[in-house]
């Protein structure tokens, strides 16, 4: 849906085409913005001193959690890939096991969160979603670590690792709840998004749907 271009060649149609492309440009920028925030948060997390290095907080997943309520699946995928590659480049981990752990965890967690969001979205706030994401990510990382690096001895630290992830994910979920309620930017984006969706839906139906552009 995002990339479909209306090839209607009447003057009105060309306008619509331009609008759609502009909106596309907009939202790709927004994906990049959230991805940049992911990088920022992962840098912040890196600087927080931790007694044990494997205790992760998962700050960098926050933009993805918030993104669930803004973007479609392909866009979310793009966001996640940007996050993973960006982190890999900035930390210079791009060809190490660590990268694989992070990639696997992030992708799996995003997909899982998307499923939960789609299926249970009405009954759950970002808290439940954040917990799901964190647990999935941690589980995947444990499995990868087991097969690639540590062998069976990793399972000894698994319970505290999961517990830590659980507790931090609750806080992240709470923050996501508060943010989506209070943020101006977020409200702005979601309304713009709805307008675009409405106008695209209408334009692919009758020609009389162009009036909705006046709202913007």
């Amino acid at each position: 849906m995002l990339f479909s271009k209306n090839k209607d060649s009447t003057p009105l149609g060309k306008n619509l085409h331009h609008e759609v492309v502009e909106h596309t440009q907009y939202f790709i920028t927004h994906i990049a913005i959230l991805a940049a925030f992911s990088l920022f948060l992962s840098t912040v997390e890196y600087m927080i001193p931790k007694p044990l290095p494997f205790m992760r907080i998962g700050l960098a997943n926050l933009p993805i959690i918030i993104g669930l309520s803004i973007f479609s699946l392909p866009e979310l995928l793009l966001l996640t890939v940007l996050k993973i590659v960006g982190q890999g480049l900035i930390n210079g981990t791009i060809f190490s096991y660590i990268f694989l752990f992070s990639a696997g965890g992030s992708l799996g967690s995003m997909l899982m969160m998307y499923c939960v969001y789609k299926l249970l979205g009405r009954f759950t706030s970002f808290i439940g979603i954040s917990i799901t994401g964190a647990m999935t990510s941690n589980a995947i990382q444990l499995l990868l670590a087991h097969f690639m690096l540590f062998g069976s001895s990793i399972w000894i630290i698994a319970p505290p690792f999961l517990l830590m992830g659980f507790i931090t994910s609750i806080f992240l979920g709470i923050f996501a709840n508060v943010f989506t309620r209070k943020s101006r930017w977020y409200a702005d984006i979601t309304t713009r998004r709805k307008i675009q969706e409405n106008s695209m839906r209408k334009s692919s139906g009758t020609k009389g749907g162009l009036n909705s552009h006046a709202e913007k």
């Binding site: 940049a36 840098t43 190490s96 690096l149 000894i156 943010f179």
Partner: protein
Amino acid sequence: MQKSNLRIVAGLLMIPAFLLQKNLIMMIVQVAFIMVIAVLKGRKIKPVPVLVVLTSVVLMNLLQVNGKVLFTIGSFSVTLGALKIGLDKALTLIGMLYVSQYMVSGRPKLPGKFGQLLSKQFLFFEHIVTSWKRPERGKFIESLDVVLEEMEHIYPDKDSFKSESNILYVKKIEALTETFFVLFMWAGFTVGILDILPVG
């Protein structure tokens, strides 16, 4: 070839020479070498995380007893085989980490649309880092909003990336240095394979 991509290629060529290395002593040599060139190219080495990774991977692997017993602490035996495996894995991890650091030190530009998006991401990242001010109590989200909204207006033009005139191409001397690095790694690999040294 673009200058920024040279190290990526060099790094990729070095990786097999490292991953296929059998000999532990040569592995240490290779890892040390990688760390040296990473530092030369401006990356920093933080000793603490390196040591933490080293010890934790080795310890975790020592838990799986295997091989000749070297010494015993209480009821826990340190075995030679497990030690070797642990060191091998830890060194591989550290080596690959620093190869990545090295490869990335040239600020590579990925081609294509994705590369452009990635560059946008980094552009915004730098903006966040430089312009986000510590918020006062109660206004945290508002301060975030400010930064987010600012970034919407920094949309780079479509042409700005092409107009970056500093597409530098590789100079001969750089190509030579990188080739030397790659060859050194492969020499290390060859020494390792020939079973000249112990611990192989």
